[in-house]
């Protein structure tokens, strides 16, 4: 399978950083996921072959990290933290609100493919709890009203 030039140059660069090939697996998986949207069977086979690993080994690593997925996700992946600090400041309310507005559950994806939702553990933003991560962007001090605006914004962006 073919990846973008950017992926290839990052991959080549990564290889030079480690003494063994298999060490580049985790960053490479992340790059591939960013590019393809998820880690398809095709991606797994390709990376296993490039890094002299079995497909099983690649799957083992993917399954360990919750940030990696083998199933397609929405364009915007909402990761709502419900760990202790966020929970104390109303995170569960935020999460429930998301479920209702998007009509999906934990790990679900909306029919239009725009959003998926995940309930996650601490994302290191406790000082500004409750917090949520959308792809690589953080949103903090969340309230239900704030969520409305954020989701509208993403929706508009996604429809363009």
């Amino acid at each position: 399978m073919t990846f973008s030039d950017q992926f290839e140059s990052r991959f080549a660069e990564m290889l030079s950083h480690y003494p063994t090939k298999r060490s580049v697996l985790v960053p490479t998986l992340l790059y591939a996921q960013d590019e393809v949207g998820y880690l398809s069977q095709e991606v797994i086979a390709e990376l296993a072959q490039r890094l002299d690993l079995t497909e099983l080994e690649v799957r083992n690593v993917i399954s360990y990290y919750s940030m990696l997925t083998t199933k397609p996700r929405g364009k915007y992946n909402l990761q709502v933290c419900t760990n202790i600090s966020c929970m104390l400041r109303g995170a569960e309310e935020i999460f429930d609100w998301c479920r209702q507005r998007l009509d999906i559950d934990h790990k679900g994806t909306t029919a239009d493919g725009l959003f998926s939702l995940e309930e996650v553990e601490c994302i290191g933003a406790c000082s500004w709890a409750p917090a949520m991560q959308v792809n690589y962007d953080f949103h903090e001090n969340l309230t239900v009203e704030k969520m409305d605006t954020i989701l509208d914004e993403y929706k508009n962006r996604g429809m363009q």
Partner: protein, 788 residues
Amino acid sequence: MADVNITVDGKKVTAPAGTLLIEACKSVGIEVPSFCYYPGLSLQGACRMCLVKIEKIPKLQTACTTVISEGMTVTTTSDEVRQARKSMVELLLGNHPLDCPVCDAGGECELQDMTFAYGAAESKYMEAKNHKDEQQWSPVVYFDRPRCILCYRCVRVCGEGMDVWALGVQNRGVVSIIAPNKEDHLECEECGMCIDICPVGALTSGAYRYKTRPWEMKHVGTICTHCGDGCKTTLGVRRSDTGMEIVRGDNRDKSGINGDFLCIKGRYAFDFADSAERLNQPLIRKEGRLTPSTWEEAFELVGKHFAEIRDKEGGQAIGVIGSNRTTNEENYLLSKFARVVLKTNNLDHHRTADFPAFVAALTGKLDITASMRDVFNAPAILLIGNNPTDQHPLLGWQIRNNVRLHRARLYVINTLPIKLRRQAANFTQIPAGTEGKVAAFLAGQDSVAEALASESTSRENWIALRDKLRGEQNLIIIFGSEIRGNDIEVLVKFGSAIPGAKFVCLGDYANSRGAADMGLYPDLLPGYHRVADNGKFHREWGGIPTTPGLNLPQMVDAAKAGKLQALYVVGSNPIGRFGIDPFAFSKSFVVVQDMFLTETALMADVVLPAANAYEKSGTFTNTCDDLQLIKKAGEVTDTKTDFEMIVRIADAMGFDVRKLVHFGGGGTRADMGQSRGAQSGEADQHGVWLEAHGLEPKMSPFDPMAILDEIQRLVPGYDVSRMNLLAGNDQHTNLAGSGPSTLHNPELIVPANDGLFSSGTLGRYSRTLNSVIENRHREPAETEVAAD
């Protein structure tokens, strides 16, 4: 290595530097409980069951990953340690279903044992247990996820031990799970190592699951009937409608040359024994059809015909084909029966290796063959030809794990990129059929270097390889049937110049080596003595024919020409294996002893239902010359051992069987209990005593031990310790010093070419092997038709 002194529970312990604490404790009889630790596999430190207190270290430490150091003071019995163990068991039981009453492992489960020894009666956990249904991963392997305690033994043995890497760990924390390589199923060598190494009942086998309880079986240690490696296997048997049924095979007690290793055949392919197609009645051809008969009728008929033909036409009108899967005693007896009773040297078997040439090349050299154990310990190994992973799984295991655990240097020369190249320090691929040239080059014939040189291996590479090999010490040279005839002598010449070098010649079936050693040849007697030489066998056996007889193809020709009037086939299927015209023997009186109606049996005039090696006693010699005892485990009523049938036929021919089998000699004719039936307690005690002292009573002409006596007396190299043999230990025979034999028709050698999932006739009737083959949607391999 220097010794290190430590103190454990007040006991002084001394062990070599580098020893793990858990092993040091074990050496003085202190048990530290463990789950994930398994000798010979990499350290995991996953289960925390082995926590002990080491003085000056604040937290408890895992004994399985701690290397001892001088002055270490360890406590394994304090309240703190006990409490830690208790908590570990409690955590493990948090998700473990308590289905011991139906679990295969119940009664043999390490978790059960540990809970009994260290666990708590109640649990603080209120949470519901995680449950998942049992999954079938392959015809052989089933996985019951909730029972898994995540010790990772299965993952490691499959990867490190088998070099298959078919199992992995997915997810993390409480939802971690063992996963097969093809997402929802396994594609692997189906060896079952993972199943037997599992401390609990999480991995179970299609062959045994939910069949019986461990304590309801009788366990008999015997030898695998399949390939030539001679793995010890412990068969679990129980009563069935037709005798004794084998329900399980394993080697969990790690006895024998194979430790805990068995391939799929040794572990699961005993099921040919209770195949529905098993013969259990003698058959006689009447009006063209094979018709059931009584044993008496069958033996009388065979005896009458054999005697008549011998008396009228002479012994040369009778041919005999022996087996690679009968015992040494049966092979010896057949060899003797052919010569002494039938008066013929027309005797052959399916040859899979050139043992006569090998023995000839070794003449006069002592201690020159390697045992299966040596292969695990040698510092260097050269492997030419063969593919042990498929054809000699135990040998493959020994080589692989020698490289992994002892860093042996492995040199592989093969026409194919066989799997063992992954362990090789040097792998050289050669064109098909050039193995002989390799031998010549190694022995110093530089002129062939050009012919061997290729793009990947230049002439210089070859020379460098040879120099390396010459620089080795105690090298083991292993070669397949590709090297035969003169090439063996050449290779031995090369090896003999290397200090301490030893050899292994690979033959394919469970007792191929024994068939050769016991003289199933038209020109060789037991111990490779030539029939023409007037030696000890002529003295011992009396007047035997001295002109070499016909080999197998010659017998076929003679039969076609109407000169071979009778053919006696014991445990062999030449028509199926060699593609012989089924009508070649239509003019001959053909008698076949077999378990199944093979292509050969179908053509016979009399078919006698035979017991297989799991149903009899005797000895086998593996391809490394290791002699081992086989013990009767299973039983199918109305079959007889080949041994008994040979004796009965001799008797029916009017021959005095005392001259064939020297039983009851020396006046030991006491009543051993036969006449007293169930009240034979006293006599039984006597029998037990005799057996314990290696003095079997040998009261009957069907006692193979009487022939073993003769073998040990007359076949060079077989005079090993009877005591050790009876105790179940392998005994290396040393045939060097046997009579010289001649260049020996290397063209008659046909390798079995069995793969991991085939095993000649036995494989054809094994449900397990067939289900694996079908499961892969592969056409049954051609090799399924085999001679034995």
